[in-house]
């Protein structure tokens, strides 16, 4: 499909619609949990978020348990999608989205 003449972020924003993104990163040797969420409805510029969200679905299936210990565990909710994933399975646009949410999202319950 040709994308000529379309702004990628804006185009994908229309396809996805508003979405709630909730992320928790737990485990690690420190065992500290970080949680954050973003509601694209309330954002001035939702396009970059929606573009990432669009490319992050479908969320991957959790891989078979590996031998890694003290690696982070991610719990990611993206609209109706939810997945609990080991760090090594969070890659590409999903990783960008998850890290962006932790960095810029609001803490739940605050």
């Amino acid at each position: 499909m040709s994308r000529t003449g379309r702004v990628p972020g804006a185009a994908e924003a229309r396809e996805v619609g508003p979405v709630r993104i909730a992320v928790s990163r737990s485990g690690g040797v420190a065992g500290m949990v970080r949680r954050a969420e973003v509601d694209t409805d309330g954002l001035d510029d939702p396009a970059p978020w929606l573009s990432l969200a669009d490319r992050a679905v479908p969320l991957p299936e959790p891989p078979a348990p590996g031998r890694a210990r003290d690696a982070f565990t991610w719990t990611i909710e993206l609209g109706d999608h939810r997945a609990v994933l080991p760090d090594r399975a969070v890659t590409g646009p999903l990783r960008d989205l998850a890290e962006r949410t932790l960095a810029h999202g609001r803490s739940p319950g605050r």
Partner: protein, 347 residues
């Protein structure tokens, strides 16, 4: 059986002797005695002697690689066994911490590396960009530099380096499933080894030790002393940015959660405190009695990969009885440790 203890590691003495370095007085006597012990050990353990073929003396086989801020493993080799210090603090801390861990395992438990057959010890430092973690990837230890606000370098704590290597020891022994109670036991054993490496390196007695895991990782301004406290789980930090240390110290407060592989880093507080209670009840060097009991339990073929706290507690009691005898103070100390955290051992 008395574990061998000396200030200078036996492998180092052997090397000095082999290299023709002249030793005098006490050091010479110590070297002779230590080497004689080593010969006896080999005679007693032919399987281990076989495993050492091609390696004249047991010692750590370390390689520290540098990921240079990326996430590709292993990275560029920065220091091999026997190399002089590299000048890179993280590289040299990892090298020294791996050495301290190998030495504790060998001197306290007569274990030659992770697999008890001299397996090399690979580590990678400077992993990722401001990466807030250290982990065992199934093959090697990996250390981030920290974000610089909450955490500094993860190599800064010897107990964390020992903790990561201990995950390798568990992989080669009980191989406890990394989820729920067996997962919390996996974490617990890693903390025990981490604490013992620090105490062994400093020749610290149970009553003198901090029992902290990851002291020195927090950056200035963070209200906390370490990642965890084995003596008082739940008290290691209380900071506006981090919240409060969520570890339970008693089985009544066991945390059920989806996160963290079922709370493996939370519920490890319960057996951690049981170990601390047993070790301080006994006093002295913790690796000589409580540590040995735990190490025996870890190698007990009857210990299931899916062991829960009650099953592991029963295994430690059996191990204490086998090594120190029924009715011994070691058995009493282990029993009161588990009782102190509300875990009733399987019968």
């Amino acid at each position: 059986m008395a574990p061998r203890c000396s200030i200078v590691p036996p492998y180092l003495l052997s090397r000095l002797v082999e290299a023709g370095v002249p030793l005098e007085g006490d050091v010479a006597a110590l070297a002779t005695r230590t080497l004689a012990t080593d010969v006896r050990l080999r005679a007693e353990r032919p399987e281990r002697a076989r495993a050492r073929i091609g390696r004249p003396e047991p010692g750590p086989q370390r390689t520290v690689d540098d990921a240079q801020g990326g996430t590709d493993l292993p990275g560029r080799t920065a220091r091999r066994e026997g190399d002089p210090p590299s000048g890179d603090v993280a590289v040299d801390e990892a090298y020294d911490g791996l050495g301290a861990t190998w030495t504790m395992l060998f001197e306290a438990f007569e274990r030659d590396s992770l697999d008890d057959a001299g397996r090399p010890l690979p580590a990678t430092v400077h992993y990722g960009d401001r990466y807030d973690n250290a982990f065992w990837d199934g093959e090697r230890m990996v250390f981030g530099d920290g974000d610089g606000q909450v955490f500094g370098r993860f190599t800064a704590s010897v107990s964390v380096i020992g903790h990561e290597l201990a995950h390798g020891v568990v992989q080669y022994t009980a191989d406890l499933v990394y989820r729920g109670q067996p997962g919390a036991l996996n974490e617990h054993v890693a903390d025990v080894v981490g604490a013992l490496v620090e105490q062994h390196a400093a020749r610290q007695r149970a009553e003198e030790a901090t029992w902290l895991i990851g002291a020195g990782l927090f950056q200035p301004g963070i209200d906390g002393v370490a990642l965890r406290s084995m003596a008082a789980p739940g008290t290691a930090y209380d900071d506006p940015l981090l919240g409060r240390d969520p570890q339970p110290a008693h089985y009544d407060d066991y945390v059920v959660t989806d996160e963290d592989d079922g709370g493996v880093h939370l519920n490890s507080g319960i057996p951690n405190r049981a170990f601390h209670l047993a070790a301080t009840a006994l006093g002295g060097f913790a690796w000589e009695r409580a540590g040995l009991v735990w190490y025996d339990a870890l190698r007990d073929p009857g210990l299931s990969r899916e062991a829960d706290f009650a099953a592991f507690a029963a295994t430690t009691l059996a191990a204490a009885e086998a090594r120190f005898g029924a009715g011994s103070e070691e058995v009493d100390a282990v029993a009161s440790g588990w009782a102190g955290v509300g875990v009733e051992p399987d019968r």
